[in-house]
């Protein structure tokens, strides 16, 4: 790893150098009913649109690599058969300007399933490989439990990572592309004072975490508490609306639909992200539903995140961003659910 320091005003120059590409970053989305600012990721056209001091975005950056709806193939049909057209929907590289560590780690986790598994997903790979990611440090918010999940700092999966030192950015450089890019702006090696300041910033940040999840022996505890009454209580609250999965940066479950066009000469195959909380998620041909109750579906989501995935990949599928709990109208949050299953109220 190479570390550099540059003055804050150099960041606009960095933006200009990258602006030949499509740039995605955090932007303001107005205020909520209590006057708190809202943010989301979107394509930006000007450096000033970026809200780099953003609090957590409502939605995750997932849709840029894993769209909610994606056409996998289109078909032209004729009396003799059909012709299939496949488009991976990758048209140009994407620059992510300002991604928090949790979201970088979320992409790394998606890679485990969608890029590094036996059958890599070409639609995902095409988009993922064409990302240039500039990470940025954050201030822990009340819903953040990333430290418990070990995802509060990103070790890989980005090109550059910026930490705000006041008037300057402390920069971690991970890739050759990023190194070449930084040679175009004025940077210096970190002085011992700047290094001390960086360490101090990290220390201050770690004091700010308030939400925690006890992950010790969690896979075993989930196994033991399969029949726990706690699941029924949460199931009773759950709206089965799928909001948690849609705002989650790592939920990747999906369904596929085939559709014949009105002219009967064209057809398409579309993938859409689904959620294991939805009532028809485990419904199979013939109408049988393996998980007809809200409690069984909610439990399934926690088992996938905190048990099944851990057994398969030795890490959780949750990055502790807390978006699901924030977005949930029924106030179902992972720290509370896991604590109740553990028997701690």
């Amino acid at each position: 790893m190479i570390f550099k320091v540059f003055k804050k005003q150099e960041l606009a120059r960095l933006y200009e150098l990258l602006a030949v590409n499509v740039i995605v970053g955090p932007v303001s989305r107005g205020n909520d009913r209590n006057g708190n600012p809202l943010y989301d990721f979107d394509v930006v056209y000007d450096f000033d649109e970026l809200a780099l001091d953003y609090t957590q975005t409502v939605h995750s950056p997932k849709r840029f690599v894993l769209p909610y709806h994606e056409t996998l193939a289109t078909f032209t049909t004729s009396p003799g058969g059909w012709e299939k057209h496949v488009d991976l929907n990758v048209y140009r590289p994407l620059v992510f300007f300002g991604m928090h560590a949790c979201d970088i780690n979320a992409l790394n986790k998606l890679d485990l399933v969608l890029a590094q598994s036996t059958y890599p997903n070409p639609y995902y790979m095409g988009k993922r490989k064409n990302l240039f990611i500039i990470g940025i440090d954050c201030t822990p918010e009340p819903q953040c439990f990333c430290r418990s999940m070990g995802t509060d700092s990103a070790i890989h999966g980005f090109d550059l990572f910026l930490t705000d030192l006041g008037g300057k950015y402390f920069t971690e450089i991970l890739t050759a592309t990023a190194f070449d890019l930084l040679s175009e702006i004025k940077c210096t090696d970190p002085s011992s004072k700047e290094l001390a300041l960086y360490k101090h910033t990290a220390k201050e940040k770690s004091k700010r975490y308030t939400a925690t999840v006890d992950t010790s022996d969690l896979t075993k505890i989930l196994d033991l508490e399969f029949e726990s009454k706690a699941w029924d209580a949460w199931g009773d609250k759950c709206l089965s609306c799928g909001t948690c999965a849609n705002v989650c940066p790592t939920c990747y479950c999906y369904g596929v639909e085939e559709h014949v066009d009105l002219d009967l000469q064209h057809a398409s195959k579309t993938k859409f992200l689904h959620s294991c909380n939805l009532i028809d998620f485990a419904k199979v041909a013939g109408g049988h539903n393996f998980r007809p109750t809200s409690a069984s579906r909610l439990k399934y989501r926690y088992y996938h995140k905190h048990r099944g995935f851990v057994e398969a990949f030795e890490e959780s599928l949750c990055v502790g961003c807390g978006r699901c709990g924030t977005a949930c109208l029924a106030d179902i949050t992972p720290p509370e659910v896991i604590a109740s299953v553990r028997g701690k109220e």
Binding site: V58, Y68, L239, T243, S275, D280
Partner: protein, 272 residues
């Protein structure tokens, strides 16, 4: 008529289709006619023999009858029974046909004679309590929405013609709303029935920053009890949720369980 229909070389029957309306605004049928970009393809897929809003000719031989509107008069029962007799498949088109729709709002009043007087004054017409089609005849397929979503009807008709099963989403509007990257309207201070209403509209209203009024009726397993608590937490009183739940009649089974004092009396209505 045009060439015989076929898909992948397999010949398909071009169904004879009739569109009918009972008490309604006929807006659902208008939605179909409005879709100029695909209208010709739609007309090629079916043979329309009856469509008062779109053509002069009338025919009583049809395979599929799309019936818009709710039953509010006795003669409509006779007409509906006749349509049922003629059709192989009867489709309830839109929320009026499925649940009674906006028309059934009058069922909220205890005294229907008072309602009639308020609306028609000295020129009364014969009208009764509002009913969905299924109260009188067998309905084979329901297409929800006020109005219906034309893309959805086109998909359903295509599925019927090529012989695919017709599926409605069972989950609530929230799923589509979040996939459209909307910020939850509750967070913006507006009430919404999205968490309990059947999806399929592609979050039409909420994507335009209007809270859902539940025109498509309840999602499967809708958690009304929890939504009422959430409405309360967000500072919306019971009247607000009831107004929405009762608007299209889809939630009748939930609202009828409500205490009778919630049913508006004419006197109370006059005061407001």
């Amino acid at each position: 008529m045009s060439e015989p229909l076929s898909y992948l070389g397999v010949p398909l029957a071009r169904p004879k289709v009739g569109f009918f309306e009972l008490s309604s605004c006929e807006g659902c049928q208008l939605q179909l006619l409005n879709n100029e970009a695909t209208l010709l393809d739609f007309l090629n897929l079916v043979e329309i023999v009856n469509f008062r809003e779109g053509m002069t000719e009338r025919g009583d031989t049809y395979d599929i009858a799309f019936v818009e509107g709710s039953v509010t008069r006795k003669d409509e029962i006779t007409r509906l029974t006749e349509i049922r007799k003629n059709a192989k498949i009867l489709v309830a088109l839109g929320s009026c046909a499925c649940f009674g729709g906006v028309n059934q709002l009058k069922n909220r009043f205890r005294d229907l004679d008072w309602v009639k007087k308020e609306v028609y004054g000295d020129f009364p017409i014969e009208t009764m309590e509002v009913h969905p089609l299924k109260d009188f005849v067998q309905v084979d397929l329901e297409i929800f929405g006020c109005p219906i979503k034309k893309e959805e009807v086109e998909r359903i008709v295509t599925d019927l013609v090529v012989g695919k099963a017709v599926h409605h989403p069972e989950y609530p509007v929230c799923m589509e709303c979040k996939a459209n990257e909307n910020i939850c309207l509750f967070e913006l201070g507006e009430p919404c029935l999205g968490p309990v209403t059947r999806a399929g509209c592609d979050s039409w209203c909420t994507s335009n920053r209007r809270g859902c009024w539940g025109c498509r009726g309840p999602a499967e397993g809708a958690n009304l009890k929890r939504l009422e608590e959430i409405m309360h937490t967000y500072g919306f009183d019971r009247e607000i949720i009831l107004d929405r739940l009762e608007c299209f009649g889809g939630f009748a089974s939930f609202t009828q369980a409500a205490p009778t004092q919630d049913k508006k009396s004419p006197a109370r209505r006059k005061k407001s």
